[in-house]
């Protein structure tokens, strides 16, 4: 171990390494590499946390894991493997979420430096806030494909993770998903929602049946179809997809008829939708073409998963995956649900086949299972080399932090291709100062929330805005007059969930105080009334979006893969930010 050999490091660094307690958040691609570098460098006291278990697709880069470890805890196996490099080092592994209440500010205060090796924005935001609250230096990193970045986050010295807005998460309006898909991704999102409707946890935001409230369909609201349905079932109350599926014993043929024939006919009855759109064509089970429209399949040049299925094949796969998922579900305890996982064969088959059948119906190009997996699973390609390079840079920066040389901790970028000066590992010219308007690290925590108080419910406020939008974990919310709208105490404000903000007395100009005890974080939310539109977003948060005028960097939002798409997303890859591509900031860099 380097620090145990005199003369390898300068004295101060040697001592710092020997005596510092450090925390690695994430034991994926970057985390494994960081852990190796730490142990080999001679750190004696390391803690590492990861919620995840090992999957076979991790093994091409998460080199502390081997085939026999598949299914085991990443943190624990990483610890064992790293101990084989140096059996005397003290490593504590947590198989847990870093967002759990067990890891509060006092937990974080114990470390000299924290190194993030995370794969999602949610956890990154959280650790950012914890380190700010504990005033511990945080080294943040991420990779996506050939690219990567490393940056120091230190309270009042540098930008924090939330100082600049990240590219917004891509969401798709419910009407597009349910009524008028026009791109493959719309069908894929619909299929994932369908999976949850049929087998997963029920979420009313993931309805897959035709949306009669679609403003584009105003005027005709599918009355004929509604009537037909009422007659059919002798009852005007529409049953949920789940109830209906249970009643039909998940019979694939019946499911198919409802999803790809009856519901499509219903959509067709909403005539206004199709005035300027190509109307969908209902499919009849057993009467589908056994060919791929407009596509000749080369057979050898591609992987099995890269071939595009004919519609007939899709129907077959739909039927068999349906049956398999149904029996998977039967084996669960009552009340338990399946969770969609791109690495579960049946779950993936189901989504791929449904997405392609729906795409065919709407005249949208079909995709291979391989490509659908990328899109549905938000896969950001990951390789060993980028992770190794970025993890090396992380630990070099940690050396500087421990020596107190924060001025040497400028951000560093690993580029896909060298820049015009042939620089591939590119350091930023200087530390970037905090954004004085940041709603997380500036003294004044305030955002404006543009939202329709007439329609937004307290539940939506909690889930969509406070948790997803503002990255809180367990928020409490009170109004300026002291009314408790939301409490993080289990069950205390459940009655408020269905109420709209306006029913809670919130109007244009109201100020809500949100408080997250775990994150030690308070935020004022100024309400700006804005009416909901068909394709418009549910809400918009205006906060620290403007960097100070004259600040040196110009951000160029990257095109590319976006964050967790709209819904329950399993972000996969250890190392890369689910939003890595967008968070990798391309700046004019000095060399």
């Amino acid at each position: 171990m380097a620090a145990s050999i005199a003369g390898v490091f300068e004295n101060d660094l040697q001592q710092a390494i020997n005596s510092s307690k450090v925390f690695v958040v994430g034991a994926g691609g970057i985390g494994c590499e960081i852990l190796k570098n730490l142990v080999m460098s001679g750190f004696n006291d390391i803690e590492i946390i990861d919620l995840d278990t090992i999957d076979v697709s991790n093994l091409n880069r998460q080199f502390l894991f081997h085939k026999q470890h598949v299914g085991k805890s990443k943190a624990e196996v990483a610890r064992e493997s790293a101990l084989s490099f140096n059996p005397t080092v003290n490593i504590k592994a947590y198989h847990d979420s870093t967002m759990s209440a067990d890891y509060g500010v006092n937990f974080f205060k114990r470390f000299a430096v924290v190194m993030n090796a995370l794969d999602n924005r949610m956890a990154r935001n959280h650790v950012n806030r914890m380190c700010l609250a504990a005033d511990v230096p945080l080294i943040e990193s991420g990779t996506a494909g050939y690219e990567g970045q490393v940056e120091l986050i230190k309270k009042q010295l540098t930008q924090c993770y939330e100082c600049l807005p990240k590219a917004p998460q891509k969401t798709y309006p419910g009407c597009t998903i349910r009524n008028t898909p026009s791109e493959p991704i719309h069908c894929i999102v619909w299929s994932k929602h369908l999976f949850n409707q049929l087998f997963g946890e029920n979420d009313p935001d993931m309805d897959v049946s035709p949306d009669t409230a679609d403003p584009d369909a105003a005027g005709d609201a599918g009355m004929a179809a509604l009537k037909g349905e009422a007659n059919d079932q002798g009852n005007v109350t529409r049953v949920t997809t789940r109830e209906w599926a249970v009643k039909s014993n998940y019979d694939p043929e019946k499911l198919f008829r409802k999803l790809f024939h009856d519901d499509i006919k219903y959509l067709l009855s909403m005539g206004n939708l199709w005035k300027n759109r190509t109307p969908p064509k209902p499919l009849v089970f057993g009467e589908v073409p056994d060919a791929v429209a407009g596509c000749s399949n080369e057979t050898d040049a591609v992987l099995k998963d890269q071939k595009i299925w004919s519609v007939a094949e899709c129907v077959e796969i739909f039927s068999s995956s349906c049956r398999n998922l149904y029996s998977q579900q039967q084996r669960l305890d009552l009340g338990d649900n399946l969770v969609w996982d791109k690495d579960d064969k049946d779950a993936m088959d189901f989504v791929a086949s449904c997405a392609n059948i729906r795409a065919y119906i709407f005249g949208i190009p079909q995709k291979s299972r391989f490509d659908i997996k990328s899109m549905a699973g938000n896969i950001i390609p990951a390789i060993a080399t980028s992770n190794a390079i970025v993890a090396g840079l992380v630990v070099l920066k940690a050396f500087y932090v421990l020596r107190g040389q924060l001025e040497n901790c400028q951000s560093v970028y690993l580029r896909n291709k060298p820049n015009h000066k042939n620089v591939q590992i590119v350091p930023e010219a200087c530390l970037v100062e905090p954004n004085s308007k940041c709603y997380v690290c500036s003294p004044k925590h305030e955002v404006q929330l543009c939202v329709d108080v007439q329609s937004l419910t307290v539940k939506e406020l909690e889930e969509q805005i406070l948790k997803k939008g503002l990255h809180m974990v367990a928020p409490d919310v009170i109004t300026a007059t002291g009314t408790v709208i939301l409490s993080s105490e289990e069950g205390e404000t459940t009655d408020n969930y269905p109420k709209t903000l306006s029913q809670m007395g919130v109007v244009n100009g109201s100020i809500l105080k949100a408080d997250d005890f775990l994150q030690n974080y308070e935020l004022n939310i100024v309400i700006v009334q804005r009416c909901l539109t068909r394709d418009g977003p549910l809400f918009e948060i205006i906060g620290s979006e403007t960097a100070k005028p004259g600040s040196p960097e110009k951000l160029q939002p990257e095109n590319g893969q976006t964050d967790d798409d709209d819904d329950v997303v399993h972000v996969i890859d250890g190392e890369s930010t689910s939003n890595a591509t967008s968070s990798i900031r391309k700046r004019k860099l000095e060399t």
């Binding site: 091409n60 080199f63 060298p418």
Partner: protein, 341 residues
């Protein structure tokens, strides 16, 4: 793109390599799977190169090292268990190297390169050499040139690292992105309405390389090179001094001789700078202070860069560096520059 690799990828491989196939494509993976790589020198840097190319899924890796495991290996050589001190370094690395990927053929070779006939190297598509003398590097490069083998050499000294590439003539496909700005003819403010269109095209490219000898024999008093000095990072001269140090002393700088070795190194730098008529302070002394052992994070950086260059070369996808890549730890910068052309 030359002949198509004909080997088929099995389902197991598709699963294991899923994430990288999504990045570099199936064809690259097939080419990787045919590549036979020789890694000479298995300390920390060599171990990192091995790890990355084994994970990537080349056909075979031969780890060659005649040295024995010593304490310094444990600064970064994670393939060697601590119990193997005193044993041959290549053999001691074998088991863990194999665990990284059972689908790659891995062999250990404990002979010295000087004892190998030139024909030995013909068994490989890529040779990556570290821990050699300048004379050995030059000889290897010549042998590789004659046999059309892609040659890499380099080393890590403490926090500093470099690699040299001689790929002779390298053909490759690369994605070239062109960004065009289009303005919408509306009255809206320009900043809001500017649209950029990205077009990505696959283009064929070629790079031509010079032998190592040429890259080391640069005459800095010549007009064109003297001009370059103005804007140049001094890493080249650090590399030269370190090579000279090893050639003269038969070892790398040693942590136990820290102060003495720093002084010798300064002398070698000074000698070279004087010879080339360059001012003495061109190389900051700070850059010569942390050159001891092979530091794990720097091995990771240099091993990552080197392996990625090997992957680019073998898969003939993307333009490899031409011809020396440096990591300068003072600025935390990694760049390539072309010497001797």
């Amino acid at each position: 793109m030359g002949e198509m690799a004909s080997v088929d990828i099995t389902e197991d491989e598709a699963q294991l390599y899923d994430r990288q196939i999504r990045l570099w494509g199936l064809e690259s993976q097939k080419r990787l799977r045919k590549a036979r790589v020789l890694v000479i020198g298995a300390r920390g840097f060599g171990a990192e190169v091995c790890k990355n190319i084994i994970l990537a899924g080349v056909k075979s890796v031969t780890i060659m090292d005649h040295g024995v495991v010593d304490e310094q290996d444990f600064c970064s050589q994670f393939l060697v268990p601590r119990s193997e001190i005193g044993k041959n370094r290549a053999e001691a690395s074998l088991e863990r190297a194999q665990e990284l990927n059972p689908m790659v053929e891995i062999t250990a070779d404990k002979e010295k390169i000087d004892d190998k006939p030139d024909s030995f190297f013909g068994n490989f598509d890529v040779v990556c050499a570290t821990e050699c003398t300048t004379a050995q590097f030059l000889h290897l490069d010549n042998v590789c040139r004659e046999n059309n083998i892609k040659f890499f050499c380099g080393d890590v000294y403490g926090f500093f690292g470099y690699i040299f590439l001689d790929l002779q003539i390298q053909e490759f496909m690369e994605e070239v992105t062109t960004i065009t700005n289009t303005h919408e003819p509306t009255g809206e403010p320009l900043a809001k309405k500017r649209k950029t269109e990205k077009t990505v095209q696959n283009t064929k490219g070629t790079e031509t390389y010079v032998p190592l000898q040429d890259a080391l024999d640069v005459d800095w008093t010549s007009e064109s090179y003297a001009k370059r000095l103005k804007r140049m990072d001094p890493s080249y001269f650090v590399m030269k001094a370190l090579l000279k140090f090893c050639d003269k002393k038969g070892r790398k700088p040693s942590p136990s001789e820290r102060e003495k070795d720093i002084e010798s190194l300064k002398e070698f730098v000074k000698e070279e700078l004087t010879k080339q008529k360059i001012r003495e302070d061109f190389v900051p002394e700070l850059l010569l202070k942390d050159v001891f052992a092979e530091i794990s994070p720097v091995c990771a950086i240099m091993g990552g860069i080197t392996a990625q260059e090997i992957i680019k070369t073998v898969s003939q996808k993307e333009r490899p560096h031409n011809n020396i890549f440096f990591f300068n730890p003072l600025k935390c910068i990694g760049y390539s520059a072309c010497f001797g052309v």
